[in-house]
Symmetry: C2
Subunit: 545 residues, 2 copies
């Protein structure tokens, strides 16, 4: 059995090592165009920023180490030029000698990854992208040689924000340009607003709803679609990646709508002797739709699964949650499953709860606000997704919810998860439990209203204390503090009420109370905090005292 693997990093090398573990006799050849294999793509921005000081730390393996341990035939600086599926042959080119030669295979694994998108705009050749070690070295050299003071990052996605942060750490003044109305597209807008606040707080100039028009003056000036120009010593292009499918397409393998390689649930392409893995392929999300989920977890996992299948084991790849996480300065931003946009598109009926909880017991030092959003089916109670943002514990809560989704745990059953509690780590009711309770109340029929649904015709009832109300409230809201509601509810005008507090808890208590007292009332989910993130124009200016 001879297995040829194209691409020697996450997906490809995971397949190679597992193949060897299962089969000492298989011939395993790994072809890699670049000068490195098995490097830590995900660490690249952090070496630029200086957090990861030693460049060597990013080079996890070498062809030699992989040969010594796994008896792999790893050929770097070798490009696969063409696949001939009928004859089971790949044409390879040694990029050092320029020589071209052929290699036979019994099974072929494509793990060519993805390449940064480069729109054909004037001056685009001056923008640098980041995908591999040479890219990183190039950026570092540029920074060293140019004594750069100001950088423009095009794209407010995961890699764009990581680069922006790391350039700030390196002492640059940084602009981020994002064509969409928000950063980090997997988040819903009111959650992304929290990230934007952080980015701006850290001194980054954020240009939303604006895009690159051209690069002028030998790469020293960025011109935006809006006409704005920004002087730049360094321009990073990070508007996304596109699957590397040239080889696959040329070989006649089926591609999907989203431009990735199309596969069966055994990770075989339309040619059963050719497998594909990683950023190059299309994956199925929780809504059953094909999408690109260019993340390391699935590349590593599916690389292993391919090796299993080639070795005669049964595998089955189902849908993928696309759990993702990114550090943005002091914040951790994490998400799993589907967001509102995806749910709307898929036509699924969903409900939402937001909370702004304490990352651990509030009486124990260091507790930080953790903003959480849960999306679930209003009828079947199935969890669709979640988003978490905070300085502490966001990763934990998203991992728990991702696990809950995988285990078929329903939204209201999150309350029943026995999570570890001691004051430094959580509360006796963990924020995830709280999401479960909130979901239960909503499913029971206790009405809530989302930040974008607030009806200005409703009576807006602020149940916080007067000093909170004074600091800022929903335009038109009246204030009766929760603890006075039992005795003062007669003051409320007739008509439907939207009650709210700071994060939703007191608003919920008010809703329970007022309903029993005969009022028609809904609670503003996530309270003033979520509302203000989503509709900052609809709250009073902070009154400075």
């Amino acid at each position: 059995m001879k297995v040829l693997i194209i691409g020697g990093v996450a997906g490809g090398m995971s397949a190679a090592t597992r193949l060897r573990r299962l089969n000492e006799k298989a011939e395993v050849v790994v072809i890699e165009r670049g000068p490195h294999v098995s490097f830590a793509n995900c660490g690249l921005p952090y070496h630029i920023g200086g957090t990861i000081e030693e460049r060597e730390k990013l080079l996890l393996q070498t062809p030699e180490s992989l040969h010594a341990r796994f008896n792999l035939d790893v050929r770097i600086q070798t490009e696969a030029l063409k696949v001939n599926p009928e004859e089971h042959i790949v044409v390879l080119k040694d990029l050092r000698s320029g020589k071209t030669y052929e290699e036979k295979y019994d099974r072929l694994i494509l793990s060519p990854g993805a390449s940064p998108i480069r729109p054909p705009l004037p001056g685009i050749e001056h923008a640098l992208t980041l995908r591999n070690i040479p890219d990183m070295d190039r950026i570092n050299r540029h920074l060293e040689n140019s004594r750069a003071e100001q950088a423009v990052v095009i794209g407010g996605g995961f890699i764009g924000l990581e680069m922006a942060e790391n350039l700030v750490h390196r002492g640059l003044k940084v602009h981020v340009v994002e064509a969409g109305p928000q950063v980090l597209a997997p988040l819903d807008p009111e959650m992304a607003a929290l990230v934007q606040k952080e980015v701006v707080k850290q001194g980054i100039k954020l240009h939303l709803m604006d895009a690159l028009h051209s690069i002028e003056d030998q790469g020293k000036r960025v011109v935006l679609k809006s006409g704005e120009t920004i002087p730049a010593d360094l321009i990073i292009l990070a508007i996304g990646v596109k699957p590397e499918v040239a080889l696959a397409k040329d070989a006649g393998l089926k591609l999907g709508e989203r431009g990735g390689i199309l596969e069966s649930d055994t990770l075989q392409t339309s040619d059963p002797d050719i497998y594909a893995v990683g950023d190059a392929i299309e994956k199925i999300n929780l809504a059953g739709e094909a999408g690109l989920i260019p993340l390391a977890w699935s590349a590593n996992r599916q690389g292993r699964l391919i090796a299993d299948h080639i070795s005669g084991r049964t595998i089955h790849v189902g849908h993928q949650l696309g759990t993702a996480i990114v550090k943005v300065f002091d914040l951790t931003v994490a998400t799993t499953g589907l967001n509102e946009k995806q749910l709307q598109k898929s036509g699924r009926p969903f409900a939402v709860v937001h909370t702004h909880a304490s990352s651990h017991a509030s009486y124990y030092p260091g507790a930080e606000t953790l903003s959480l959003k849960l999306l679930f089916n209003r009828t079947t109670r199935e969890i669709y997704g979640a988003q978490a943002i905070g300085k502490e514990g966001a990763d934990k809560r998203i991992d728990v919810i991702a696990t809950a989704i995988r285990g078929g745990i329903l939204a209201d059953e999150l309350s029943d998860l026995e999570l570890a509690y001691a004051p430094p780590y959580s509360s006796a009711k963990d924020p995830v439990n709280m999401l479960g309770y909130m979901a239960e109340n909503l499913l029971e029929g206790l009405p809530t209203v989302q930040w974008h649904e607030v009806n200005p015709e409703d009576i807006l009832l602020d149940v916080r204390d007067p000093h909170e109300y004074t600091r800022g409230h929903l335009r038109g809201a009246i204030n009766i503090p929760l603890n006075q509601l039992r005795s003062r509810h007669q003051e409320l005008p007739a008509g439907p009420i939207t009650a709210y507090c700071q994060v939703g808890l007191r608003g919920y208590l008010a809703t329970r109370l007022l309903r029993q007292l005969g009022h028609e009332v809904r609670n503003l989910d996530g309270g003033y905090t979520t509302f203000k993130l989503g509709r900052p124009d609809q709250v009073t200016e902070p009154v400075k005292s």
Copy 2:
């Protein structure tokens, strides 16, 4: 509907507030013997140590605040003396006036908690216990007045170790005395050994397999069973708690074998109009056995469930994992489900995997070793429990596994959990995924051997590098580094081999390889690291160079 609640802290007050949320008209009376309600028991040690500076932070609510918000009738310094189930009456005593009176109820909730165990030993009156605010104040006063320099903590459980740590923070020299062979009984011994190392490293003198014999010299000297005496300025007794069942017993309610109040899965006692919750009741663990799980999560959760049931909702309490966590200086120690001792007792066939992973990508600064243990059924693959110890990320992994257990995810399916990965948070294969892979390999029949099973007759093969071998190895082991095994395996004597490395990964690779080369070989699970923790006497002394 009149509901009387005895005990105004975790279980009782959770029931009271939920009752009010569901029913504005119910009469809810909360009876509390002590001077405080709704306080943060779990924070008490940290105020003694000074981490939680303000005492007020521990007092989450007062009778007044609970009246204002929830219209509760909260009576502190009032003791319930007797329950008369037939007449639905409780006899109460106002501890300030000394007056006794009766109160009727429709439903009664017992949430009296547990009290620290006090063995009748000579001088025991000099030992202080910690359960509530007055206890804490007493310890603090003692510390202030006596200018204590040395403390003895009797008991190496959760509260014992929390107290020990906090007394160290307060500048005391601390001894911990534990009758058993290890601290933290829910852990298995090789895992507890890690905690013991930390405790000793932090300057605590640990006395295992020794117990309190008597306290002499007006509380200034502790005498142990072994005969050893320790001078003491402060003696803390923390050998566990026993359920407060006097009222329940006297009222004729059924008690269980473990001494707690016995209940149905609707949290009703043998009298259906009387519910009980919290530390006073018996719970059913994953093995179906009754036990005491005196933790805040279940008190809070079940308090709410009782209110639901009283309000006519359907509830069902199943078994409990007993997920628990404690900070021990720089370490986090967390556990869920069953440990080896419990599994052995219950007669369930189980398998174990250990790993010592990196808490996040090892190339990103701050990564720390995270030791994990997973227990599962060898046939059904059901997860039974897990233990985690490390400086970072132990809480997250235990919460994920607790969720997986609740969701019926099988041991090998842990590999398929899509957990959030970026370098500051995890690895592309999270340590929990790795447990899944390891479980899969074991279930597939790839043999491992546990630290306590190593057969000294076996050929012990150390596959680490020579410098690791030299630093310390299993007595009698030979050394062939993994990367030389393909070419040197003929050197191996005939007979069954136990291969090992530092944490188990290279030993696993060696096992895969050697089996294919025709050897009979097993991998030492958890490697040298776990072995040394469990059997420190069976390794060579570190060779100082």
